[in-house]
């Protein structure tokens, strides 16, 4: 199997497509590290979405390159030669899967290695940074699985892209649902008492627990969490007005909830890498099972 890895690495990593994508990711990484910190001065400008846009661009380029290179390798039938040479379907699939995963991770590192020097997301923990890079690996693995298992490549690629968007948008919606607070606090007219009413949009357990797990399992979730929790915003949003906390009980309670929510998110962010790796292993297991039963031509 070592020989198969060698072949796949050579065919994958030294192709012009891989080199071009690597250069694009290096450029995006350097560009974002140098120019984006200058843009995060005004919280009302909307510029905080620029880095995520670059991140998603980099992810899309990486995904496209995997599709191109895997489709090429499957169209020319050389996978047949590997089976005829005596390798099992498990070995062939695993070698491709791991190669694509490593390729994705490489592209993630090339895109994000400049972040520590940029000042963006200074509070970002190492584990969460790993999870952002693992997004690249997860996307490469999902795309490779779709490419290798389907006869109708173009259709399967479109389905794959749709699935990734669904994961991302679905994850955003579920996270927002989870962030909905149980109580709405309003102050009375005299600002002396707090009126607490139940929030009708609050989701109770056990569905809440299911949503929580779904968010953790979603391999695209780190992207949304990164936008929401790690990108620098003006201090107006993240630092409470201490004076106001004394006289406005509603404001005080709301900030308590924001802090609790922040802690919950931070706690969740650090376990993302574990769930992402579980997701990648699960996709591999399903992919291998289907691939072994497939009738190849």
């Amino acid at each position: 199997m070592r020989n198969l890895f060698r072949i796949h690495f050579k065919r994958f990593l030294f192709r012009w497509e891989a080199i071009a994508v690597s250069l694009i990711n290096i450029f995006l990484g350097i560009f974002s590290a140098i120019f984006i910190p200058e843009m995060y001065t005004d919280a009302f400008s909307g510029s905080e979405y620029f880095y995520p846009a670059l991140y998603l661009t980099s992810l899309s380029v990486t995904m496209s390159s995997v599709i191109m290179m895997e489709s090429n390798s499957l169209n020319n039938g050389t996978i047949r030669n590997q089976l005829i040479a005596g390798y099992t379907k498990l070995q062939v699939y695993l070698s491709k899967y791991i190669t694509d995963f490593i390729y994705g991770i490489m592209q993630g590192i090339l895109m994000m290695w400049m972040l520590p020097f940029s000042g963006i997301a200074d509070n970002c923990s190492l584990l969460f940074a790993v999870s952002l890079i693992l997004v690249y690996g997860a996307v490469s693995c999902i795309v490779m699985t779709f490419c290798i298992l389907s006869d109708r490549r173009a259709t399967s690629v479109l389905i794959c892209i749709a699935c990734l968007f669904t994961l991302m948008l679905g994850g955003i919606n579920i996270a927002k649902r989870l962030d909905t607070q149980k109580y709405i606090y309003e102050s009375s007219r005299d600002h002396e008492t707090v009126v607490k009413t139940e929030n009708l949009f609050y989701i109770d357990s056990p569905i809440r627990d299911v949503f929580e797990q779904a968010v953790r399992l979603n391999p695209m979730q780190p992207i949304y969490e990164y936008i929401l929790w790690y990108l620098p915003r003006d201090e107006f949003y993240y630092t409470p007005n201490v004076t106001r906390m004394d006289y406005d009980p509603v404001y005080n309670l709301q900030w308590t909830q924001i802090e609790a929510e922040y802690q919950r998110h931070i706690g969740r962010l650090n376990v993302f890498p574990i769930y992402q790796i579980c997701f990648i292993v699960a996709v591999c297991t399903v992919g291998v099972t289907i691939f072994r039963k497939r009738d190849l031509k």
Binding site: I7, K10, R80, N81, L83, I84, A85, K89
Partner: protein, 306 residues
């Protein structure tokens, strides 16, 4: 006799369609086994099962004494090379680079022998030309060269001469004969171009509707391909009357022509016809072609010729 490949009631079903229906065949070591069948008979399906691209739905397959269900079958497949349907190669590489890639995949310690292989398949003068720019014949030869990497004992070629020009066909034929005679490689060739196969094969397996109709070696086939006399007479009605009296097997082609099967003395036929006032105008000897043999075989229940 040792057999490289043996199948026993091999079946392969795709949803409701049975591509192979209890196929039993044996490929002797050192043979050039011609696998003959119509389009859709199951030739390529069998080759895919041998190569491990697909799994049978019934029966078993033994390669070098190892069953397909055995974990060691992957190791047994290392003794074989195959070109299934179309040759598989890296189009962005030239012939030598493709072979180097194949050597690396097989884990061979060095690239010794690549030049010999290229010379053997007559691709040693292609230089840096990319494989995607090769002619069909060159691609076929590259596919065979890739299959020969690792010095296999058993070579499977799925319709290797399809789409080739006459020179290409001759080149492939000579290559296969050279491989069999010089390197003692057992070759399984599937084809529906019978004339070409008749110049190559030492053994034949006739397949129809997913089953082997007959397995036969070249000598037996030659004997079975019947000789017949093509006669021109003045009156085939009289000819038929005479042949019926003699108990001979014949077929009337036209008012003046007929085919007479079996061995007869010309003088006896001439005398018998003369007695019925029928003149023998001409008489020529013919041998049944492999094509006719095959058509008669699959056209019948398969039990007439044994």
């Amino acid at each position: 006799m040792e057999y490289v490949l043996k199948t026993n009631s091999l079946c392969k079903t795709y949803r409701k369609f049975s591509a192979l229906n209890g196929l039993t065949m044996n490929v002797p070591q050192g043979a050039i086994y011609g696998f003959v069948g119509r389009n859709g008979a199951g030739k390529t399906t069998l080759i895919r099962l041998i190569c491990g691209l697909q799994d049978p739905t019934g029966g078993d397959l033994t390669l070098y004494g190892t069953k397909h269900t055995d974990k060691k079958i992957a190791k047994a497949r290392r003794h074989m090379g195959a070109v299934v349907e179309t040759p598989a190669y890296y189009g962005d590489m030239n012939a030598a680079e493709n072979l180097k890639m194949q050597y690396a995949m097989l884990g061979l310690p060095s690239y010794d022998g690549i030049d010999d292989l290229l010379r053997l398949v007559r691709l040693d003068d292609t230089g840096k030309k990319k494989a995607k720019d090769y002619s069909l014949g060159m691609k076929q030869r590259l596919g065979i060269a890739l299959a020969l990497c690792g010095n296999p004992d058993f070579l499977i070629l799925d319709e290797p001469i399809n789409g080739l020009d006459p020179q290409g066909i001759v080149e492939i034929r000579e290559l296969i004969l050279r491989l069999n005679h010089e390197r003692d490689i057992t070759v399984l060739i599937s084809s529906h171009i019978l004339d070409e196969l008749s110049r190559l094969a030492t053994h034949y397996g006739f397949i129809d509707k997913g089953k082997i109709v007959q397995e036969i070696n070249a000598e037996e086939l030659e004997q079975k391909c019947r000789k017949y006399l093509h006669v021109k007479v003045t009156n085939t009605a009289a000819f038929a009357h005479v042949m019926d009296k003699m108990g001979a097997e014949y077929s009337i082609i036209s008012d003046t022509e007929a085919d007479l099967y079996g061995e007869y003395k010309v003088s006896d036929i001439s005398a018998a016809l003369a007695a019925e006032h029928c003149e023998l105008l001409s008489l020529t000897e013919h041998e049944e072609s492999l094509e006719n043999y095959f058509l008669n075989l699959v056209g019948s229940d398969g039990g007439d010729r044994k």
